[in-house]
């Protein structure tokens, strides 16, 4: 993908304006695709990085625009793919391999790192216009006026999404209101679900094993495992899938504004569905399923606030007041569910 064309090992060794600039091309290789799949599944995300510094795309001149970004490799890969054959400079900040949005929230994509890279790469020697374009989602970490006073570089906030950058550049570096708005469409929500599924896998496995094996104590292997246990395990898997996959997918259509409310509705609906299909049998276990599935899916979907692009810290803190109720409903639900084993 990128050839490390460089005049020397360290920029300090070089004189003039040609120090330590590597090149990037828009094309993706097989390893880039495999890498994307791997990190989307949550594997090795924190070590999926690129060397920070100044990169050239195409054949940039001193008049070409400078775009700053994070050194998470997937971020740079998406950016170079969207930029295509344009001639420009990419200033890759050291964000500890974290994407722009998360890094800005932690201050890694921030004023200090941006000014440091502008100076370390001697950016002013490469370009005539002291102007650097930042992704808008980097703004929580960067104070544009401080960058200006410390380096002389004027910060322009570009669009939220990399795919809008070509149009932004063609429009005289002016972002439309639509380019500035964060959305959360189905595709983006689904892209985040594999990590949710993985993060809750252990808890789900414990639940499935508990619901699958405990009935053996009262009903013996035959009835306990293959009847009650199997149905419990199915309900456990359904809880996991509903909270981590179905809930995020159906998010705009679930009733309520709070994620715990949306999850409680989905869990209760799921229990009703399991009762209709005969997976849940009897009045007390049915009520129990309504309670523990409601509580379980409610908690899992509440966790999805961390992935969403429109929830606030204050709002999430308020939502977390539902946790005691979730624990109570979950416990009561499991007790009622267990009456199917011993009553």
């Amino acid at each position: 993908m990128n050839s490390d064309k460089c005049c020397c090992k360290q920029s300090a060794d070089c004189g003039g304006s040609s120090q330590h600039v590597r090149t990037l091309t828009p094309d993706w290789g097989v390893s880039d695709f495999l890498g994307m799949i791997r990190v989307r599944l949550g594997c090795g995300r924190m070590s999926y990085g690129m060397e920070p510094g100044l990169y050239a795309m195409g054949s940039p001149t001193p008049e070409s625009p400078v775009l700053a970004t994070a050194n998470y490799k997937l971020t740079v890969d998406v950016l170079r793919r969207e930029l295509g054959d344009r001639d420009l400079w990419l200033l890759v900040l050291d964000t500890a391999n974290v994407n722009v949005w998360c890094a800005a929230g932690k201050g890694l994509f921030g004023t200090a790192e941006l000014t440091r890279q502008i100076e370390a790469t001697r950016l002013a020697q490469h370009v005539t216009r002291r102007r650097v374009i930042l992704p808008q989602l980097g703004a929580p970490g960067v104070a544009a006026h401080k960058v200006k006073s410390q380096t002389g570089f004027h910060v322009v906030y570009g669009p939220v999404r990399a795919k809008d950058i070509p149009e932004f550049l063609d429009n005289g570096q002016d972002a439309t209101p639509e380019m500035r708005r964060v959305t959360f469409p189905l595709g983006e929500r689904l892209a985040l679900t594999p990590i949710e599924l993985r993060q809750q896998f252990r808890a789900a496995l414990i639940l499935v094993l508990a619901l699958g094996l405990t009935p053996v104590i009262w009903r013996g292997w035959d009835q306990g495992l293959w009847n009650h246990g199997l149905r419990g395990a199915m309900a456990g898997v359904a809880c996991w899938l509903a909270g981590c996959l179905l809930g995020p997918a159906l998010l705009p259509w679930l009733p309520g504004r709070a994620f715990w409310v949306k999850g409680a509705f989905l869990g209760a609906a799921l229990a009703a569905g399991l009762a209709l299909t005969g997976v849940v049998q009897g009045l007390l276990p049915g009520l129990g399923a309504m309670l523990w599935l409601g509580a379980g899916v409610s908690f899992l979907l509440m966790n999805f606030t961390g992935c969403s692009t429109f929830t606030s810290l204050s709002g999430v803190k308020r939502e977390m007041k539902a946790i005691p109720a979730q624990i109570a409903a979950g416990t009561m639900g499991l007790v009622l569910w267990s009456t199917g084993w011993w009553l």
Partner: protein, 93 residues
């Protein structure tokens, strides 16, 4: 999609505002507008408390308690475990 009402900590001191428009530029949810050369909050409940406006306001007219609204992160902190948020968790299979 809309989140909870009347919950965010966003504050704007309109008398200090110089109308530079940075808050309008950086806000991902169009919370601000410029009206008569001053910023105004037009959609407060859309605020996600990312803090971009406050960070980029050259006269400190905007304030907000910013942070990542992540249940996993907040729970980890409350329970004294490491891992400030799901976005930095990395337990490979």
């Amino acid at each position: 999609m809309r989140y909870l009402k009347n919950v965010v900590t966003l504050q704007l001191n309109e008398s200090v505002c110089i109308g530079c428009g940075r808050c309008v530029e950086v806000c991902p949810h169009a919370v601000f507008h410029i009206h008569h050369r001053r910023a105004v909050i037009v959609d407060r409940d859309a605020c996600m408390e990312c803090g971009a406006c406050a960070r980029n306001c050259p006269v400190d007219a905007v304030s907000v308690i910013a942070g990542v609204g992540c249940v996993t992160g907040l729970l980890n902190r409350a329970l004294g475990r490491k891992g400030d948020c799901c976005c930095t968790e990395d337990s490979c299979c």
